[in-house]
Symmetry: C2
Subunit: 622 residues, 2 copies
């Protein structure tokens, strides 16, 4: 029996030295346990989403030296790990040194060459280049390598024969996307299976997305049962970012038997190691390990892990949160309080005369429930003073006149850029941005105001998901730390008398509809545009298309109403809101398509297709 140990490392992005230390520790633990093979994730020395750091040759050389150190660690133990490989004699298409996203194996201090390979590693075959992934920007694929040598991928891709005590393990080592082959011309797993292997090892750095674990199980099970080969999937943990988007890695190392059945799965987001036995035919979990597959909803665990890791990564342990008495700030406060002690949180309420007693009271109740200090800093006088100072000043063609709308934005900027920024500096921490995805989509928020902050934890959640996260937080606390009144109060920015919640007035968004409409603009793999929306409206199946439960004709009595609303928001979404998103803080990515580097956007003028315009004309004429 071969004993295989896995470690779902939380690689620190770019910090090769720290990651080397983790690997040394894992090797010692594996050796102490008498494991024959230790399996580590993809890119576990450098991290994966590290931007253009791959341009720094000194960094590449550091990584090569670290690979040699890992090989040197493999005394009495076979180590399998994902890392960068460089061939200094060749170049990438960009003229920089040739780089591969590679998998290595070493035993007794020596690198193991895949069968018949001149290279002491195997190369990632399928390089993703969608969402946040830019693999082709940095790495040469096995397919390109084959082409260059006048070969086919199947001529190069080869099994590893790994020493395992007195036995040998003939296995196929693949990297992440290599097992997600549904849209590719070639299947690395099929090629390796043809060459006769008894086990797959998949080394991954697969960012968490809601619902992805289910899809993974379905895809992997299907392939493995077809090939009749078991698989160990080792995914990393930790947090990485590409500037705008912060991604968690859930770990969730998993084992599938030769029938494709999921037989074990690590707890998400936890520092778990696991041990498996392999009898040259099938994989079994070591009896001492407990790894029940999870069926937990991962929304809250992802948020608590991701937010906590983000704070650690930037070296912050204190946060200032502006709380209005509304749901967004309440969810953020409860989220941070679930990972930080009360004394590391300062809640700040900054009312003007437009803020109701109701919401001020709810903010106070929230603070009390969380055990956090609440500062109240009224800003109305200051806004008035600024307005007085500016009103009537000469302009080239006029004099300054500040409209109500301008004063609303002044309030928002005053809260964040004056009060929260100064208080967070004095407190020695950061201040948060409490935006949600619905607002962000249409730019319903003020730059340098409520759109400012060091981190926008909840900006990848639609409004309905904000409420859901709030409920989950209350369940986690085991009591209603977010008061029920916050769930039921009208969502409102309370920046003018037109947004008076006590009169039932609030945001101009109909969340029951707009959440789903906006989601259809960006999250489906085939994205919807006004043309698609209007066609569905005309066909009476819009609710199905966007997945909302409200009946659209109940909101918009006529086609004209419907079209006006659609165009108003589409113009904002594809126009001015992009300008705002360029300057918003990093967010925690959990959806299938977060704004930022995942959904890449140019500042453009909104566009309507000819087909849209003629259907619109027809509908308005009817």
């Amino acid at each position: 029996m071969i004993k295989i140990r896995t470690a779902q490392l939380a690689a620190v992005p770019s910090h090769i030295r720290k990651n080397m230390k983790q690997i040394e520790k894992e090797a010692a633990l594996a050796r102490a346990e008498g494991a024959h093979i230790l399996v580590l994730p993809e890119m576990c020395l450098t991290g994966y989403l590290i931007g253009d750091l791959w341009d720094q040759n000194a960094f590449l050389k550091e990584c090569e030296r670290a690979n040699e150190k890992v090989a040197a660690l493999s005394k009495g133990l076979t180590i399998v790990w994902g890392s960068l490989a460089v061939d200094w004699d060749l170049i990438n298409d960009d003229g920089r040194p040739r780089k591969y996203n590679a998998a290595f194996a070493a035993s007794n201090g020596h690198f193991i060459y895949p069968e018949g390979s001149p290279l002491p590693f195997t190369v990632k075959t399928l390089l993703p280049d969608y969402r946040c992934f830019d693999d082709r920007r940095y790495f040469t694929s096995l397919e390109s390598l084959a082409l260059e040598e006048g070969k086919r991928p199947e001529d190069i891709l080869a099994p590893f024969v790994l020493p395992a005590g007195k036995e040998e393990l003939r296995c196929g080592i693949v990297l992440c996307e290599d097992s997600w082959d549904e849209n590719y011309r070639i299947s690395p797993m099929s090629i390796l299976a043809e060459k006769g292997i008894s086990l797959f090892l998949n080394l991954s750095a697969s960012p968490f997305t809601m619902g992805k674990d289910g899809k993974r199980h379905r895809m992997f099970s299907e392939s493995l049962s077809r090939l009749s080969i078991p698989m160990l999937y080792v995914n990393r943990r930790g947090l990485e970012n590409n500037g705008k988007d912060c991604y968690t890695y859930d770990g969730m190392t998993a084992a599938y038997d030769k029938d494709g059945q999921l037989i074990a799965e690590a707890n998400p987001f936890t520092d778990e190691r696991s041990t498996f036995y392999f009898n040259q035919e099938n994989l079994t979990l070591a009896p001492e390990t407990e790894m029940e597959p999870t069926d937990e909803n991962l929304l809250l665990p992802a948020f608590r892990y991701g937010t906590s890791e983000f704070l650690k990564a930037i070296g912050a342990s204190k946060v200032v949160i502006g709380v209005s008495g509304g749901i967004d700030s309440a969810v953020n406060a409860a989220l941070y309080r679930s990972i930080l002690p009360a004394e590391n949180i300062l809640l700040v309420n900054t009312p003007t005369r437009y803020n109701s007693e109701l919401t001020k009271g709810l903010a106070a109740e929230l603070a009390e429930n969380l055990g956090c200090q609440l500062l109240t800093v009224p800003i109305g006088d200051f806004i008035d003073e600024t307005a007085d100072a500016l009103e009537g000043l000469p302009l080239p063609d006029d004099t300054v006149h500040l409209t109500g709308f301008m004063k609303e934005n002044m309030q928002a900027r005053d809260r964040s850029s004056r009060i929260l920024a100064a208080l967070s500096a004095a407190f020695g921490g950061i201040f948060t941005c409490n935006a949600n995805k619905t607002e962000t989509t249409v730019g319903y928020g003020t730059l340098y105001g409520d759109l400012a902050g060091a981190f926008a934890a909840t900006a990848d959640l639609w409004k309905y998901q904000i409420y859901d996260l709030g409920r989950k937080l209350n369940a986690w606390y085991g009591r209603a730390v977010i008061p029920e009144g916050i769930f039921t109060v009208m969502p409102s920015a309370e920046l003018s008398e037109n947004q008076d919640v006590t009169q039932g007035k609030g945001d101009p968004l109909i969340y029951e509809y707009h959440d789903y409409l906006f989601r259809s603009f960006i999250e489906p793999w085939q994205r919807q545009t006004p043309e698609d929306i209007l066609k569905a409206y005309a066909n009476g199946n819009l609710e199905d298309l966007i997945g909302c439960s409200i009946i659209v004709s109940n909101i918009f009595p006529t086609a004209k109403d419907f079209i006006e609303d659609l165009e108003k928001w589409w113009n904002l979404f594809s126009g001015f809101a992009v300008a705002k998103r360029i300057q918003t803080p990093p967010l925690l990515a959990v959806s299938r398509r977060p704004y930022g580097y995942d959904l890449r956007e140019s500042q453009l003028r909104p566009y309507y297709t000819d087909a849209y315009l003629s259907l619109k004309e027809k509908l308005l004429a009817d």
Copy 2:
């Protein structure tokens, strides 16, 4: 003789309808002139840098219909254009519809098929995936297409035979990168030359970068003289962005004869059409056209064009500029004034007691020279009032105490987020961010303060280039609109008494050195890191490596001083400054590596290689 006409269209990104109108106009002009062939640039219907708009199938269909309309325009005229091609029966690797960056030709209403091709277009062979380019994210290359069909690129890439009056033109049509083949495995131009063609047409969407035109001439001349085939290079004009970075396209349509000599070149950034004669052997310029190759420095033209196009693109015609009396804001003011009437500009000076009479006077002089209105809005009292309101408020572990440093940031935020933001709203325009690349590199600036604004025109210029642009602006005006005193005053933020310019105190940066040190971190194709810098320092050739003229040992008497300075700035560059850059405004890209989407960055902890650390230890021990 074949008469070929070119039009360097300024494609409006994503606006197919507007671009179609431009093409209709060009076709009419070409026909009126009796041209046989009209050549248009790459992606001239959709634009090129349009982010993930390629995910919208309705947009793809709109583009297909537009291609048919262009073909229909080709009555009595052959039209060659770059555009998107879609094959709905195939998929890209991401599972979305198969898309090609393609070149089309049509004559008498019909698409022309490349020789032996089943497809009515040719596919871009070399897809760039570096800097701002993401071609492989969206498009399938000719090489991948060949692979899929079990063929080689040379089996597929084929000449077009274009009708030209009573003659025919057998030409090779390539797209942009296809002619920049130095680092690729295959050369589309060589393949086409082998197949016997008499002329190359290169359709481009090649963003402007300083110095790129010279490199283009050298590369193209070398290839063409080797192949002994002339070329017409048709590049687009206009401005595109990918969010953070705005790129100009210079047009600069160029003709090279069969010896590779540049025989004609359009004026940069201008709406030029040109006409050429081709006698089946060589290319000559129509005698009625004047196209002297330019040897102008394009820095100022790029800035005037790019800034002007940006304002048009976002629909802004008025700007508010905070002017401090320093060089950065002065250059921005002079730049905007060079493209806008005086009454569309409002200059604002927002002094505190730390601003000297010297700089306030210089700001006033600048405003007078530009004929612009200057508003003076002192902010000292407001800062004091905010400080009074916050000082001493209770914190969970302490009370609020605002340090001098915190008050500096408060001043910066107050200027932008309170004063400039409100004034620009009242004026009906935007306010500018006047940052430069040196500050941006190390985050020497305040978020929501001097780093805020709708556009950071000069943020891709090192400090020495800011001065250079200032000199060029004065030369353009023909008088010193930027007063000489602004060129000579100590650069300073004037946020405290430690930055008193009248005492010769100012910024903590030694621009004569740091400009070049920082440049070496990001702009060379092989980027420098502390390891490379310290090695060069130890070898005594640092000045050569980074290209500065100051002697480094004159600034840093000891290795310890040198290392402290290096680490201080590297820590900021690779640490906190990234957090700031995530939230900074769009900039005008002119360098070989602008921050943003061109240099992609993750928020990471600074890293020093082992080799750096041991050299450091050695140097400090000496």
